[in-house]
Each structure stands twice: as structure tokens, then as C-alpha cells.
């Protein structure tokens, strides 16, 4: 049985004392993460495992919680640079989330038609949601037209956080931002809704790679930003199995919580059930145990 590889790259200097991101260091982290994931020696060769120049790539970020608890724009830009290096046209890259306003609040520069990668929300004029409903297992939703029509593959750029309902928000839950009615999926710790949504063919088949922002981890009180429970972890988590990335993210949050004397998510009543549901025999979306994950941890 093949294992899913997940690479955690950390650097103590990636968040400067000022709180700003050291972009040069971040680029090195992304390069190293991709190379270690694919066993390639260059990031171009690494990213070619997942993308080709003809792809229209959605870079799905998570910007719901404001500047301090969302996917850093620097990560999206670094990854876009990697895609450009293998020939993906900038006009064929879209950094996106639910709303343009939320993207802008976090520091993304909206760009509908100008130079550089595109950046806008599903609520931008002329975008919106699909005409046809997804009706799949427990999911009844309209899909963002950015996924349905404007892009062909997704590079998932979630932010790792504690979540008051699901326990963890990371790669799998990031697609709640791709449908029109995520509020309908909050019952029972968002389970099995997160797993069901990720199993929807339009999402499962587009998902290629995850580069998770764990630079600053909200390890308690999430998904909103609470400075007393935010740690400069200085990491990224890279993988092509979103379940395994989430599982590793879950371990990271629990480890930080232990370090701060907090109970584990399970003891706090927020075990992220959706990760295990996504791995079960009905969903088969990835691996959710240390025995099945080849975890590589590295530092710069």
C-alpha cells in the first residue's frame, strides 16, 4: 500500500519581527516543499508533476477571517511564480475565494483583466455560481463558476486553523468557499459534509496540490483571529493528498495546543471527524493515519 507523502517545511525567520513575511525565505520553503514531495531536484520539475502549461489554474485561498488569519498573499504569489516558470500563462491563473471584498481586506490586489495573475471573488460581476445544482450525497449546492467554468485544475492554498465547529480548517474545508451555501453544512462538526463536498466529482477531479499556509497558526478560538491563541509556527505543509495534509495539520495544532497547556482537540470536543470520514471506505479521498503517511519535516 503506497503512503501519502506530506512535507512540512519550517523556518524561524519567515515571519519577521515586524510581522511581515520574508518572501525570499518563503519562496525557498515552497521550492523545498515541492522538491521533497516529488523527489525532484528543481521546483519546475516538481510542479510539472501536477500542472502543465495549458492548465487554467485556480489558486483557492481562504480569506474569511481577515488579514491575520487568512492565506498570506505572499504564498499565492510565490506559487503563481512557480506556475509561471513552467509556462502557465498568468491570465490562466486565478487567485480566488468567496468574495472580492474579503480578498482585498487580506491584502490581495484585485485583478480582473490586467497584467499578472487574476484575482477576484465568486461575487465579482460576471462570475457567480453555476446554474445547475450539485446534488450529491448530503450536498445540495451551486458551485462557483470559477471552478465550474473559468479554471480546469485547483491548487489548494488553505490556511491552517482551529475551527469552532469542525475542529480543524485546512485543505478539505477550504472548498466550503467554493459553494453558495456553506452555512448549511455546519451541523455535527461539518461532518460528513466536508468529506461529501470534496468527493463531488467537479472538486475531486480538479484538486491537484495543496500548499497550506501554517506561517501563523490559530490553534484555539478559530476560525476568527484571536491574538492570544495565534502562534508564529513559520511553516508550510505541502502534499497532493488533501486528507493527509489535513491530518498532519491536525497533529500540528494539537502539538501547539499541548505546548500551551490546552487540551487536545478531541478532549476539547472538537475532534476533526471530517478528516477520518474523508479517508473512510465510502469516500477514499486520502490517508488519515501516521502509518499511512510518509511525513517529511524539514527546516530552512
Amino acid at each position: 500500500m503506497s503512503k501519502s507523502k506530506v512535507v512540512v517545511v519550517k523556518s524561524s525567520g519567515v515571519i519577521r519581527a515586524s510581522g511581515k513575511v520574508n518572501t525570499r525565505l518563503l519562496a525557498q520553503m515552497v521550492e523545498q516543499g515541492l522538491c521533497r514531495l516529488t523527489s525532484e531536484s528543481s521546483s519546475e520539475d516538481a510542479i510539472r508533476h501536477y500542472f502543465s502549461p495549458k492548465d487554467k489554474v485556480g489558486l483557492k485561498v481562504n480569506c474569511l477571517a481577515g488579514r491575520m488569519a487568512s492565506t498570506h498573499p505572499e504564498i499565492a504569489l510565490v506559487v503563481a511564480g512557480q506556475l509561471k516558470a513552467i509556462g502557465v500563462k498568468e491570465k490562466n491563473m486565478i487567485m480566488w475565494d468567496r468574495s472580492s471584498r474579503e480578498l482585498e481586506e487580506v491584502g490581495y490586489s484585485l485583478n480582473a483583466n490586467g497584467d499578472g495573475p487574476r484575482c477576484y471573488g465568486t461575487d465579482a460581476q460576471g462570475v457567480g455560481y453555476s446554474q445547475d445544482l450539485i446534488n450529491y450525497r448530503n450536498i445540495g449546492s451551486l458551485l462557483s463558476r470559477i471552478m465550474e467554468s473559468f479554471t480546469t485544475v485547483q491548487l489548494n492554498l488553505p490556511v491552517l486553523k482551529d475551527h469552532s465547529l469542525s475542529g480543524v480548517t485546512c485543505a478539505l474545508k477550504n472548498y466550503f468557499g467554493a459553494v453558495h451555501n456553506p452555512n448549511k453544512y455546519h451541523d455535527d462538526g461539518c461532518d460528513p459534509f466536508i468529506a461529501d463536498l470534496n468527493q463531488v466529482p467537479q472538486i475531486r477531479e480538479q484538486q491537484r496540490l495543496v500548499v497550506c499556509d501554517a506561517l501563523r497558526v490559530q490553534y484555539n478560538g478559530g476560525p476568527a483571529y484571536h491574538p492570544q491563541w495565534a502562534e508564529n509556527f513559520g511553516g508550510i505543509v505541502v502534499g497532493d493528498d488533501p486528507v493527509a495534509v489535513d491530518f498532519v495539520g491536525y497533529q500540528i495544532i494539537d502539538r501547539i495546543r499541548r505546548g500551551h497547556g490546552l487540551p487536545s482537540l478531541e478532549k476539547a470536543g472538537r475532534k476533526p471527524k471530517h478528516i477520518f470520514t474523508a479517508a473512510d471506505g465510502q469516500h477514499n479521498l486520502g490517508k488519515a493515519s501516521l502509518e499511512e503517511i510518509d511525513l517529511v519535516e524539514t527546516r530552512i
Binding site: Q125, G126, G128, G140, N183, K184, P223
Partner: protein, 383 residues
């Protein structure tokens, strides 16, 4: 979210088969940045920021909503299940106050309310949002979306009351989606309407907590409750809710003086079991009394239940017969125009006291609230 000229609004509202429902903006269609299809009179969703009622503040900017039985715990920058109430920095807001997405002038029979001011018009409004998610929802394009995903008018309560009056409506109806979710707006409209002599009627699933429900009952004039089924499984699996709170809400209605009627949408194979309908009828006779009207209405394939056929008329007739057999006095068949089950029959002499075809009344044999044939009082609000 435009403020409309009243004459223009009414002209629009009354056009096109008696009203309009504003189109959703869930899908764009035009190329990004190339203008848009919003007309001059309609803008993309306005969002209100009126503090919600019935919630409590928790630690760390979390809140717990106390409006409906879901009791959503909502973190900062998150929304409740309904999608139209938003936690902003520890304060819970309704986003839909004064921003309806639908406005129509309907016959009151369309609600359906058959024993409340028959033959009158109801100025009918809705906002986005619902605290249930029924797989058969007929209006899912407004009920199962967020307020920013539909187009809206800016219509404060005073203007709603004024429009109602100018359109010749005797009542304002809160309908189409789930008015529990625009609770604050509904109450303010009811107050504004009362000042102008306009009544208020609520079309709801009755999925609400006791305290806000009792307040609502005090403030409005009639309520129609969609009683979805008489099994817990149906409420959980098909509606994402629970049966018990609805039963409790119905008992509250029975103990009050307000006029109310029930609708039971009969969905083939899911809630059409005669035994369940019999159990429900027995419960209604015991807890609500035999005079509460119940409408067994026809399902049409919609939303997430497109795989089922429309309800056979024979199934509706069977349900009606079961309820009549158990002692219910006013049992109707709905969504089958021209059916004899649309008429109101006097429980005393069995004569037709109100004859209807669809939403039209074609004969009234009712005088001063009594059967013209045998003078038996027919329960309802007739004038």
C-alpha cells in the same frame, strides 16, 4: 437596494401575472468586468446591519442564537445556518432588515389561507434565508441562498405598509422563504401595517423557539404553518430539522386566539403513508381541535427531489379522506385546480359554503361567518 418610486414599484409588482420575484444573482453570465445585468431600479444585494433579537453573547466573541431550535453557536465573522444572520465582532446582526428580494400582490388563497379574509389581496414579501433546508423547497432560489446572492429592494417597514395599502391589500404576508429568519423586519412591518389598518399574516414552517413565537403570535393576525410530516425521520432527513419543536409551536397556536391553518405537502413515498397521516390527524383532533383547516397539497419535483413524480391526485384524496375520517372538519386538497377538495363545506349540513377554483372564489354561501343554509358558525376571520 434602490429606493423605488412607489408608483413605479407597484406598477412593476402588479405586472406579469400578479407580481414579481426578483431574479437571483447567483450566476453572472456576462464577461467579468463588462458591465452587468442589473437594471437601474434594482441593485445587487443590500445588507442591513440591524442587531438581531433573541441571541446571547458568549465568550471570545461567540454568540448563541435563540431564535430557532437550532441554537446556532456562531463565531466571529461567521453566519448562522439560516445564512442571513451574521456575527460581527461578537454582535449578531440580521442582514435582511428592509431588504426584501421578493414582493408580490397575491390572493390570500395562494398562501393558502382559506378562512382568513377570503377574496382579499395580500402584499407578500420575502427576504433570502431559511433555517431549514427542505429537499423539496419550491422557492430554494431565495430561501437557500445568502442575502448577497439575490437582488433586493430597499423597503423599510413604513414603505411596505404604504405599498400594501396602495395596492388594495388587506394584509401583508411574510412568505415564500422563511419569515422566522427576517423576524425583526417582519415585526416592524406588522407594527407599521397595523398603524395603517393592514393586517399581517405569516407563512412559516413553525421552526422557532417558544419565546419569540409567542411574541410573534401577539403581533400578527394569522399564521399558516407548513407541517412537513409526522415523522422524526422526515424532518431530519428531508428538512434538516426536528418534528418536536413544530408540534410544540402548533400547540402554542391552539392555546392562543390567533387564526391559523396548516399545509401538509404530500411527497410521494416520503410522507404519504396513510398510517402516519392518520396518527397526525388523531393528534391534531386531540391537541389542536377539529376546526383547524389543513390543506393536503400536491408536490411537484423541485430542488433536490427531482427524481420523484408529482403527487397523484388519488394520494391527496386518500389523505383528505383519512383526516376527514378522523374528525377534521376543514380538509382541503391543494395545487389541484378545480378539485372538489378546494371548497369549504359546512360541517353541519355538508353544503358548499365557499366554492373555489384555484385561487378564485366563485361562490360565497357564508353570511356573518355562518353557513347560509343551516346558520352554523364557520370558524375563521371573515371580515
Amino acid at each position: 437596494m434602490d429606493k423605488l418610486d412607489r408608483r413605479r414599484f407597484l406598477k412593476c409588482s402588479l405586472a406579469a401575472a400578479g407580481g414579481m420575484m426578483l431574479p437571483r444573482v447567483l450566476s453572472g453570465g456576462s464577461i467579468l468586468g463588462s458591465g452587468g445585468d442589473a437594471s437601474a431600479s434594482v441593485a445587487h444585494a443590500g445588507l442591513s446591519q440591524v442587531e438581531a433579537r433573541y441571541y446571547k453573547k458568549l465568550e471570545h466573541k461567540e454568540i448563541e442564537c435563540e431564535l430557532c431550535p437550532r441554537k446556532c453557536k456562531v463565531g466571529d465573522r461567521e453566519r448562522g445556518y439560516c445564512g442571513c444572520r451574521d456575527n460581527q465582532n461578537g454582535t449578531y446582526y440580521t442582514l435582511v432588515h428592509s431588504y426584501p428580494c421578493s414582493a408580490n400582490v397575491d390572493p390570500i388563497e395562494k398562501k393558502p389561507l382559506f378562512h382568513f379574509l377570503p377574496g382579499t389581496k395580500a402584499f407578500s414579501i420575502a427576504t433570502a434565508g431559511c433555517n431549514l433546508n427542505c429537499k423539496f423547497c419550491q422557492n430554494w432560489e431565495i430561501s437557500q441562498v445568502r442575502p448577497e446572492q439575490v437582488r433586493t429592494y430597499h423597503l423599510p417597514p413604513e414603505e411596505i405598509a404604504a405599498y400594501a395599502r396602495e395596492s388594495g391589500s388587506r394584509s401583508i404576508a411574510y412568505t415564500y422563504s422563511e419569515p422566522i429568519d427576517f423576524y425583526e423586519y417582519m415585526l416592524d412591518c406588522a407594527t407599521a401595517g397595523r398603524k395603517r389598518g393592514i393586517k399581517s399574516v405569516v407563512i412559516t414552517a413553525g421552526y422557532i423557539n417558544h419565546e419569540p413565537w409567542l411574541e410573534l403570535i401577539r403581533e400578527v393576525d394569522a399564521i399558516k404553518v407548513d407541517f412537513k410530516a409526522f415523522t422524526e425521520d422526515f424532518y431530519q432527513d428531508i428538512c434538516h430539522g426536528k418534528l418536536k419543536p413544530v408540534m410544540d409551536a402548533l400547540v402554542d397556536l391552539a392555546r392562543s386566539n390567533i387564526w391559523y391553518e396548516l399545509v401538509y405537502l404530500v411527497v410521494p413515498t416520503l410522507n404519504d403513508d396513510s398510517n402516519d397521516i392518520r396518527r397526525m390527524s388523531k393528534w391534531m383532533v386531540k391537541e389542536l381541535g377539529s376546526d383547524v383547516p389543513i390543506h393536503f397539497t400536491r408536490f411537484h419535483p423541485m430542488y433536490l427531489l427531482k427524481n420523484l413524480p408529482p403527487t397523484p391526485v388519488s394520494t391527496l384524496e386518500k389523505a383528505r379522506n383519512v383526516a376527514l375520517d378522523e374528525g377534521m372538519n376543514f380538509v382541503y386538497v391543494g395545487n389541484v385546480s378545480g378539485h372538489e377538495g378546494e371548497h369549504t363545506y359546512c360541517p353541519g349540513c355538508r353544503q358548499v359554503v365557499i366554492k373555489r377554483v384555484g385561487y378564485r372564489i366563485i361562490q360565497m354561501n357564508l353570511k356573518d361567518g355562518k353557513c347560509s343554509f343551516c346558520r352554523k358558525a364557520i370558524p375563521g376571520v371573515w371580515s
